[in-house]
């Protein structure tokens, strides 16, 4: 029951003009998926979706167990699905390279397609109760992208939060009992004018990015010019941007290899803690994300240890959505973080 239209070609990630914070946040998530998701909030027509879709084409392919419907990682047997555990308990699995999934969760999706359900064709044709994996299964080890995340139905959001927290999807339906790994980086985008996000969901995202429309003319002209060139001849445009894309891909691969060796000196930990205390963020999640994001940034930059520069770059994205609400302070989260960062690093 899968009919696929020829998908529109994707605008290359490296050809995106500006949007530095969004691009950095997505690259950090690509280097360190444990960062916990990226939320992109911003004005209309700023290319939020373009950046996410571009990321899919950019990511280096990953090694999976051949034939596994959940794309299990051959190197981590502890996270395998039940099928892989049963099949490859004694013999090593055959592996292959596949593209990292970037799965769209479209608005109007129903629950059975998100979590998975009984495979009807199988059941009717062969009388077998087989599980038909849903979007969560497809997103395992990759990215789950929700455009207009603030318009998604509440019951679907609850379900996603539950799965994202446990990294496992449990389906009990029609006498079927399936559990499978579902580790994914949640990427949400939306326009704050359309409706607000529940604090629980907000907190679940590791990084929150604000996108604004570029306000200087040369940048705007470049955006329109590239868009126009892309629409006229997508293939040629993609070819023209292949070299930067390859370079960026190598950078991600190198950063992944390097990240475990990036040192986090005590001074950086102290800086991060001081910043969080001054801003009064709830819990430890802020500090943890801040350090992780700074480490991934250092790895992307090719630096050996985390320094002030890395912390400064990621502090707004890691902290702006974790501030206590203060109805009497009209400054936005971004301004408050920027202020605290200036105070701290100037001293």
């Amino acid at each position: 029951m899968n009919v696929t239209a020829t998908a529109r070609p994707v605008f290359p990630f490296s050809a995106i003009v500006g949007q530095d914070e969004t691009r950095l946040a997505l690259l950090i998530a690509a280097v360190d998926p444990s960062i916990g998701g990226v939320l992109i909030f911003g004005d209309r027509g700023t290319g939020k979706s373009t950046a996410v879709r571009g990321l899919a084409a950019l990511l280096p392919r990953m090694r999976t167990i051949q034939g596994c419907r959940y794309g299990c990682d051959p190197t981590t047997p502890s996270a395998w699905c039940t099928d892989c555990r049963a099949c490859y308990a004694t013999t090593p699995p055959r592996t292959c390279l596949t593209a990292v999934p970037v799965v769209d969760l479209p608005l109007g999706a129903t629950e059975d397609r998100v979590v998975g359900a009984l495979d009807l064709e199988q059941a009717l044709a062969h009388g077998v109760k087989a599980f038909e994996p849903g979007l969560l299964a497809r997103a395992n080890r990759g990215f789950l992208y929700i455009d207009e995340v603030n318009l998604l139905d509440d019951h679907l959001i609850d379900l996603l939060l539950d799965v994202a927290a446990s990294s496992e999807n449990v389906v009990e339906r029609e006498g079927l009992s399936v559990r499978h790994p579902a580790r994914f980086v949640l990427i949400g985008s939306g326009n704050p004018e359309e409706g607000e996000l529940r604090p629980q969901l907000l907190d679940r995202f590791g990084l929150a990015v604000e996108v604004a429309t570029p306000t200087d003319l040369p940048t705007r002209i470049e955006v329109v010019r590239r868009r126009d060139a892309f629409e006229r001849d997508p293939a040629a445009f993609e070819a023209a941007w292949k070299a930067p894309a390859d370079r960026l891909r190598r950078k991600i691969v190198a950063a992944r290899a390097r990240i475990a060796d990036v040192a986090v000196p005590d001074t950086a930990l102290e800086r991060a803690a001081t910043l969080c205390i001054r801003l009064g963020t709830d819990g430890l999640r802020g500090e943890l994300t801040l350090i992780r994001a700074a480490r991934a940034t250092a790895a992307l930059d090719g630096d050996a240890s985390v320094g002030d520069a890395h912390l400064r770059r990621v502090a707004p994205a890691a902290l702006r959505h974790r501030l206590r609400r203060n109805p009497l302070d009209e400054a936005s989260g971004s301004t408050r973080v920027a202020r605290a960062v200036e105070d701290l690093f100037a001293a």
Partner: protein, 629 residues
């Protein structure tokens, strides 16, 4: 030569352009009442579209099944396996979808349409179906809104190239306007095949971007859509490359209706912002020769300041020796109403951005519930705690399984429905409104004002059982503000609390406003919609810290007012001074409030005014309230 841009002429042109490139241009937001004008325009569009292109009409409240597609219930029950049904968007692939009563479309529906416009396909993940169906459509929003804020969702308007208003052109739409290009099917078909080959020189990209910026258009979609419109214009005129005339027409049709700033007329002097921008654009050009026309040259500076709108001929005629951006901007300028600023910015608040955030996003004031309100869909769930069964959705969930669960053949057909099939109805209801009164209880007039406020509160509460509203009262006097009546819906309790209120002393206006803001924010977070009513004569004389310093007190009050405006709450400021003056009016501007001078306010007119203020509030949401990002 460019014909005189008259409303009907442009409407005809728009129909032709949409027929040439429906999915590229997104479509048209057509503001017009139902009537012969609109019918004529739609007939034009139908005639211009290729005969095979579908034209589908969708009601604004179409559900996901109809819009995107889903399980075909009768067919599935008949054959016993899941049969997919295409939604109207997929059926209209290659054509145009008409959305009726678009000003009433819900944000969730708008988001689905926006998704399809962006992707050119419907991706369906519903009812066990995973489909991706092509849907390269143009969208025509039939907008019948009357009031200024009754508009289709901005998420859709942003994606549609043309915003056409036929209301002003009533009755004049007989016969083709002078200069109307041929829009018959043959011409359009030729233009459609020509479109892909139309060349756009780099300078037009720059000119349209600069014009969009000069008109204060933030979205990046606008210049992109204008560029496509220019290409379609060229294709329509049978050209292989975009000319200045095409770009000017695109600016007039696409950019002008989105303008938020009235740009200065093309200047005779060098201090104009456009002149400052033009060299910027030139830095970006590959060809340095092109920068020449942008330099201010006394010889070419005609006095267009006095040029009446509606004469872009002069723009086209002098195209050779005037910077392109000026030509484009002039074309857009010509069709802007002179009072565009008055439309876009509330009078008397010069620094305030257009209040667009208030007129969108009806989502915030509405809550989801399983018990009451308007049904908005179904979800899997247990039948308990008052949940109601959604019969059709339940049948749909059960339908594909019938063969599997089925009784042996030959038996009487009966549906086998199991617990996992149960779908329950989800409802949405309006959240309740909390009306917060902040009353100036200082000085000699305190008793009188408090009595008015008390009277108004009692009148509102008498009504509120039906409307599920609540009321709270804060009084500020002496050194600070007191919450005299915590939010309540109980008339009896309110009467008891309001019985003996003290009055007199200084006016700590800032403290009163802050207390109201805290209460409003708490209400907002509880899902209520707060409406603030401030009764004061505006003469603050006690500062935030309690000291009697008139200057500081006023500064503090202004700061507190700005915080309330930033939070975006609906505010009604009632000026109770015997002679209303400019100072209180200014406070109202800082508050973002509706201002009501009511020196002899009686309880009845006050409660009426508050209810009027609450009405728009229920339809909007505080844009910045209690949000940290």
């Amino acid at each position: 030569m460019t014909p005189t841009p008259d409303a009907w002429h442009d409407a005809v042109l728009t129909a032709a352009l949409v027929a040439i490139d429906p999915s590229g241009l997104g479509g048209v937001a057509l503001r017009a009442g139902a009537g012969p004008d609109r019918e004529r325009w739609l007939a034009l569009l139908r005639a211009a579209l290729p005969a095979a292109a579908p034209l589908r009409r969708v009601p604004h409240n179409t559900g996901d099944d109809g819009l995107l597609g889903g399980l075909d219930l009768p067919a599935t029950l008949r054959v016993g396996r899941p049969i997919a049904q295409r939604g109207v968007l997929a059926e209209a692939d290659g054509g145009v979808v008409l959305l009726a009563m678009a000003e009433r479309v819900a944000p969730t529906t708008a988001a689905r349409l926006a998704m399809v416009l962006d992707d050119g396909m419907v991706s369906l993940q519903r009812d066990g179906l995973a489909l991706q169906l092509p849907a390269r459509i143009g969208l025509v929003l039939l907008d019948e809104g009357l009031a200024e804020e009754e508009r289709p969702p901005t998420a859709l308007l942003d994606r549609l190239a043309f915003h056409v208003d036929l209301r002003g052109a009533a009755g004049r739409m007989v016969g083709p306007a002078p200069g109307t290009p041929a829009t018959d099917a043959v011409t359009i078909a030729a233009a459609r095949s020509r479109l892909a080959t139309v060349q756009v020189a780099s300078e037009f990209v720059e000119a349209l971007c600069a014009a969009a910026m000069a008109l204060g258009i933030a979205s990046m979609r606008a210049p992109i859509l204008a560029l496509r419109a220019a290409a379609a214009m060229a294709a329509l005129a049978g050209r292989v490359a975009v000319t200045a005339e095409d770009a000017a027409a695109a600016a007039r049709l696409v950019l002008a209706p989105r303008a938020t700033i009235l740009p200065e007329a093309v200047p005779p002097d060098t201090t104009d912002p456009q002149q400052a921008e033009a060299p910027q654009a030139d830095q970006h050009q590959s060809d340095p020769q092109q920068s020449d026309p942008a330099r201010p040259d006394p010889a070419q500076s005609e006095p267009p300041e006095t040029e009446p709108p509606g004469q872009p001929e002069s723009a086209a005629e002098t195209a050779a020796d005037r910077p392109l951006v000026d030509i484009v901007l002039q074309a857009a300028r010509a069709v802007l109403p002179a009072d565009v600023l008055a439309h876009l910015r509330p009078a008397g608040s010069p620094g305030r951005p257009p209040a667009r955030a208030r007129s969108v996003g009806r989502a915030g004031a509405q809550q989801r519930s399983l018990r009451r309100g308007r049904p908005i869909g179904a979800q899997a769930g247990e039948l308990r705690a008052g949940a109601r069964l959604h019969l059709v959705e339940t049948l749909k969930a059960a339908a594909p399984w019938q063969l599997l669960r089925g009784a042996p053949r030959g038996e009487r057909i009966r549906l086998a429905v199991r617990r996992s099939d149960f779908r329950i109805v989800r409802f949405r209801h309006r959240s309740e409104t909390l009306m917060i009164f902040a009353v100036d209880a200082s000085g000699s007039s305190a008793l009188h004002r408090l009595a008015e406020a008390k009277g108004a509160i009692e009148l509102l509460l008498a009504n509120c059982y039906v409307r599920r509203d609540k009321v709270a009262l804060i009084a500020f006097r002496g050194r600070g503000a007191d919450l005299l009546l915590a939010p309540t819906g109980a008339l009896a309790r309110a009467k008891r609390c309001l019985a003996g209120l003290p009055g007199g002393g200084g006016t700590p206006l800032a403290a009163g406003l802050d207390a109201a803001a805290v209460l409003a924010d708490a209400a907002w977070r509880k899902g209520q919609t707060p409406v603030l009513t401030v009764l004061t004569d505006g003469r603050a004389n006690v500062a935030s810290d309690g000291s009697s310093d008139r200057v500081r007190a006023e500064a503090d009050a202004i700061a507190a007012a700005r915080r309330i405006r930033a939070a975006g709450f609906a505010v009604l400021l009632v000026d109770t001074a015997p002679r209303p003056d400019e100072r209180t009016r200014r406070l109202g501007v800082e508050l973002g409030a509706s201002y009501l001078p009511l020196p002899r306010a009686d309880a009845a007119s006050l409660s009426q005014a508050v209810r009027a203020a609450a009405r728009p509030a229920a339809a909007s949401r505080p844009p910045g309230a209690a949000r940290t990002i």
